[in-house]
Symmetry: C2
Subunit: 261 residues, 2 copies
């Protein structure tokens, strides 16, 4: 990142059309059309500032100006007031600063890069909060890649981006056709299902993909056919199922325990 103090300041009010434009990015259709998504909060934004993501513009309350790091000069800075921030924010309680960030091109991960490590595969996860929490957890355990089916929730949804708490800046999320992609990846394909081997007894070794399915329907039939190892989190009590972000976390932890024991 170039260390040039941003040279463009606009201290006036935002125009109606600026506000309308930012609000349009709350919707997937306009995020796609404009190639931009919204991230809020200084702590989370700091993670994006020091990443390969391209920041397009930043909107902040006056008291946040002194907290901004040195930023490339092409980033547009706008001081806003509370009323303006409330209009453009996706949050019930806006966090003082909001940025528009360029949506990077969706890049397929070279299957070779998935060897000698563990990655997650999401097959139709729908809840933005679950998706965001999974990315944050993957980042905690050092998982670098999350491969998603085309029908998995959009990662640039504000609720998802926010729930990652900045981890989206580090974990690479890509969308692929799983039935075409997975057969090209030459590592064990694990999937969390109800009739598998206990995750506490699996011989994890050093690499694998772990598939997690849709909140209601689980893993799709097409993907289930490709799975080489069905795994299960042993149940002691009576709950019928676990939340998908919880299952992901328990499996990530168990993999991590085995890798670093």
């Amino acid at each position: 990142m170039q260390e040039i103090v941003a040279s463009f300041y606009d201290l006036g009010m935002l125009s109606k059309s600026q506000i309308g434009f930012i609000k349009s990015l709350h919707q997937k259709k306009y995020r796609k059309e404009n190639g931009l998504f919204i991230v809020e909060g200084m702590k989370t934004l700091m993670e994006f500032f020091s990443s390969k993501y391209q920041i397009q513009s930043i909107y902040y309350l006056p008291q946040y100006q002194s907290l901004l790091p040195k930023l490339p000069s092409n980033i547009k800075l706008f001081e806003v007031n509370n009323a303006e921030l409330e209009k453009i924010s996706t949050l019930q309680a806006p966090q003082g600063i909001l940025a528009l960030i360029a949506i990077p091109a969706n890049e397929e991960v070279d299957p070779e890069n998935l060897k000698h490590s563990f990655s997650l595969v999401l097959d139709g996860v729908q809840d933005p909060g679950n998706m965001g929490t999974i990315i944050r957890t993957a980042d905690w355990f050092g998982f670098k890649h999350i491969i998603c089916s085309a029908n998995t929730v959009e990662v640039f949804n504000p609720k998802t981006a926010q729930a990652t708490m900045g981890s989206l800046a580090r974990v690479q999320v890509s969308y692929v056709n799983l039935t075409e992609y997975l057969p090209r990846v030459n590592v064990p394909l694990y999937a969390a299902m109800l009739d598998g081997e206990s995750i506490f007894k699996v011989n994890w070794q050093q690499e694998g993909l772990i598939v997690l399915g849709n909140e209601g329907k689980g893993i799709s039939d097409e993907v289930a056919e490709l799975v080489t190892r069905r795994i299960t989190i042993p149940r002691v009590g009576a709950a019928e199922s676990l939340n998908v972000s919880i299952s992901a976390a328990i499996i990530c932890a168990e993999v991590s325990r085995n890798l670093y024991k």
Copy 2:
């Protein structure tokens, strides 16, 4: 549960005051005032029907009538239409059936009953979804009790009750003054903190309480002073923290792995 077919049917429209009353229960103040909370969805309600919870009334779309089990005759049944259900529901997509259930008295768990098992302690958890997910996870792993500080989110919040997916019917949640209560419990007091022993190396033995703190502030100073064993989920990657429901799940799984290995 008595096996008498419910004798009271009201096939007419709900009155304005009935709708107003149920909507008032979306708010904590009126739940407390009336001693009732809302649960929605047939699958979740089935868990409450077969529990010690007292159902007060049920509101359902016509097609759900045949799915209802035999219920005690004192439960009031109301057939409603879509428009009525949308008005009284707490959900964006109502699930066809909604019940009002009596809020049970808050009972302190006898400290003796916490011996020879593991239980969770929530010290100021604020997010209703996190709270609900923690209850669901605790139920999966057979944890029977969750002890909460007075400032922990209300468990009868619709978002919490719904996120438990029925597990609230089985796990006992009680609110206490933790600084008075915890010293009376004679089992090891673990707490998830950033500077503790790896959860993968703890000698868990057969009993304990596991404290989880507030989403932003962690565990309160007063409770931290009582903790006998600080534990940590080892981090491999770069995320700054884990969501509290994720931390709870990873610790529950690790305790379970040790108890049943």
